[in-house]
Amino acid sequence: MSILIISEHDNQSLKPVTLNLVTAAQQIGGDIDLLVAGENAQAVAEAAAAIPGVRKVILADSAAYAHQLAENVSKLVVELANGYSHILAPGTTTGKNIAPRVAALLGVNQLSDIISVEAADTFKRPIYAGNAIATVKSADAVKVMTVRGTAFDAAAATGGSAAIERCDSVHQHNDVSFVGEALAKSDRPELTAASVVVSGGRGMGNGDNFELLNKVADKLGAAVGASRAAVDAGFVPNDMQVGQTGKMVAPELYIAVGISGAIQHLAGMKDSKVIVAINKDEEAPIFQVADYGLVGDLFEAVPELESRL
């Protein structure tokens, strides 16, 4: 068996989720190759080649792949697919955009967001927003799947020295073009990669009060997230949302402040190692999943927490 992993990157650095995919691939078993499709992405390919256990890195460097457009990358993957038993993409917005296109072009179904490897053809994946876990078996000749990064430990990032092979094929769909992007800028770690996440909910009252969480986050080197209620209320931008329709996180420590704990939110954070809840309502469902619950006024508790850290 051999496995092709579609690497997640921004043309400059390899995103950590790729390391989680390597672990998933190791559990499936077989040779592991990484595809880096991008523009001026040599540094990414070098980082990928340093992951122990990788057989080779395929670098497709072209303007056509600069923005990971699914129309272009999917055709490249299909061209490279021959000989691979598995094709893995991260369960990110990029991976989810590309993988189904690859599967359809190969004439197979696709498995989304796998959370465990039971056998080389059998996997577990959450359905109904994580309220049920399905075990699925694929009889397709090539198994195309997206992997939920937080469900697998990160593989080591350095120590390997795989060869980097260049692929000069350029696939450019003429009817789609990149116009621009507005990426949230922050000095804090990315939500899905942070080892500590501090999130606020409707209880924060307004966007300005998130400054209280920012101060705690600065002390802990944490990312700041939010519940859908806080996003819908306009307190903070959408990309901060943790939950079923937002980001899935599983940090070492998750601090939920003024979050009641709707199913939608729990689906996005309940795999965190340690959960702390601060809420004035002692009946709030968040306390049912919290390792440490503090019933109290967040406007007193959070500044005190900051001062004690």
Binding site: A70, T93, Y128, V179, A184, P237, L253, Y292
Partner: protein, 250 residues
Amino acid sequence: MKVLVAVKRVIDYNVKVRVKSDRSDVDLANVKMALNPFCEIAVEEAVRLKEAGTAAEVVAVSIGSKACQEQLRTALALGADRAIQVDAPDQLDSLSVARILQKVAEEESADLILLGKQAIDSDNNQTGQMLAALMDRPQATFASEVVVEGETLKVTREIDGGLQTLSLKLPAVVTTDLRLNEPRYASLPNIMKAKKKPLEVKTPEELGAQLAGGVQLLGVEPPAERQAGIKVSSVEELVDKLRNEAKVVA
């Protein structure tokens, strides 16, 4: 411009799903069903395009047993002009659905195909992308804004790091995210009117669509329950526990 909207009948999002006692699947017997929330947003977007004079006709399509006609009537009540039910087993796999939709889109000469980004039952997030691939047309998934400029769409997408804007030439496939719009409620007169709008029934065979399969559901289990921990009485105690018991802060 002609808009095709694909909709799915799913469990109502307010219903807490339960796993069957034999763990073969989730229990959908006597459970309230509804239009998938992301599909509802797709219908709303299509209807707004029609109201703006951009779309000439909005056709809703659903694939499944006769029961899904209920959701097609909902789409008609929200403003779709006519509907097509493709009679097929419920819970068909994504590739089969995409192949059927491809045939319908071809038959209808649809310029824009709108779908929800995912169904809240299978949580697959695949069908729109597969359809676009089969048609070899551009896609804009997770859309939060769609602007039509002649034969071109400018779509803003919600991606992990923020927002991305793409330009697509029609025909194209767009899948909706939550913030694209806020769907209206169907008014009683419109619900009555929807009963008289045309609803055609077709089969995958008539359309010439080949079903796929390939993935077998072996079983379903409830997720691991997380045990509630303890309540601490003060911030001081909390910090002490985090430092010395959980050892997650320095």
